[in-house]
Chain length 182, copies 2
């Protein structure tokens, strides 16, 4: 997190670092992201990364931020695509589909952002709430919202971890849960 002198042209930019870190993480998961591997991908040496980033911890927080933004955009878009005054079930179904498909498209980032403890104090103010807003707005009460979130997260993480039998009809299980929680 160093600022460059005016006119300087660093061989790598901060945004490039975050971008490549995200790609590396999406492709290979937590094991795949090391200071060495990231540097190699950027065409520099590992120690040079420390001129731009405080350390690996900062990098991980940045990735969580990216993930929450991505998920949030997907959920907000899903809600927008539903006609106003649609029945609650319509909105919930759309949110569930968006939630699941974002996670399946970015499994490692999904795990990073939703598993383990969250370093809330290092996140941009309001980001977490903004990501959750679509579901909270639709679910019908805070208890219902938490139950629905738990259901969605449970379905998602169990699917990502290969916990359901290959033969399981997960569309049906999702539909069942959404219907019950409507």
């Amino acid at each position: 997190m160093t600022t460059s002198a005016p006119g300087a042209s660093p061989s790598v930019r901060f945004t490039q670092i975050v971008e490549q870190a995200r790609l590396l993480y999406e492709e290979q998961g937590p094991e795949g992201l090391t200071m060495r591997s990231l540097a190699a991908r950027l065409g520099i040496r590992a120690p040079s990364l420390y001129n731009h980033v405080r350390g690996k911890d900062e990098l991980e927080v940045l990735l969580i931020v990216e993930a929450l933004r991505g998920m949030g955009e997907s959920l907000h878009a899903a809600l927008t695509s539903v006609p106003a005054r649609s029945p609650r079930r319509t909105a919930l179904t759309a949110l569930a589909a968006a939630y699941r498909s974002w996670a399946l498209a970015h499994p490692h980032l999904y795990r990073l952002a939703t598993g383990g403890e969250l370093a809330r104090e290092q996140l941009p103010e309001g980001l977490e709430a903004w990501t959750a807003a679509p579901l909270v707005g639709v679910a019908g009460g805070e208890h219902r919202a938490r139950a629905a979130w738990a259901f969605a997260h449970g379905m998602t993480i169990l699917e990502l971890d290969g916990r359901f039998p290959p033969s399981a009809d997960l569309d049906a299980a999702w539909a069942e849960g959404v219907a019950a929680l409507t």
Copy 2:
């Protein structure tokens, strides 16, 4: 996994190793269990462990087995405690309470047994199904059972990870989900 010669008296026994590994893991989590730390706890040196266990991987599988057994016992007991022919909701409520409290009592083992991919081929035949049996029997159909499992796992893991606000009334969220999924 070596067999002792008749009459031999090893200074540590296989069951002791698993027992201490479990305690270490329960107390300190994944980071806390190393071949060195486990050996130290048993009063031997790390290399000696390899006379009893193939390696750390085998140890982890053994811990997963312990965890599935423990969870299963808790769930089967909860179901037994419910009077026969009780309404479905009574049984589901009892199962949910047992599920949650086992997990809260053994957070690290719960994570180990329910997170990440499961090395099914290394587990005792039928163990996984036996652990799941109480819920599967009560839920009312396979899709409903999967939805209920996802809900319970989601609630549990989000609580363990501190994802709910401290002010959240989780009993209410559990009750809401159980009611919806009944």
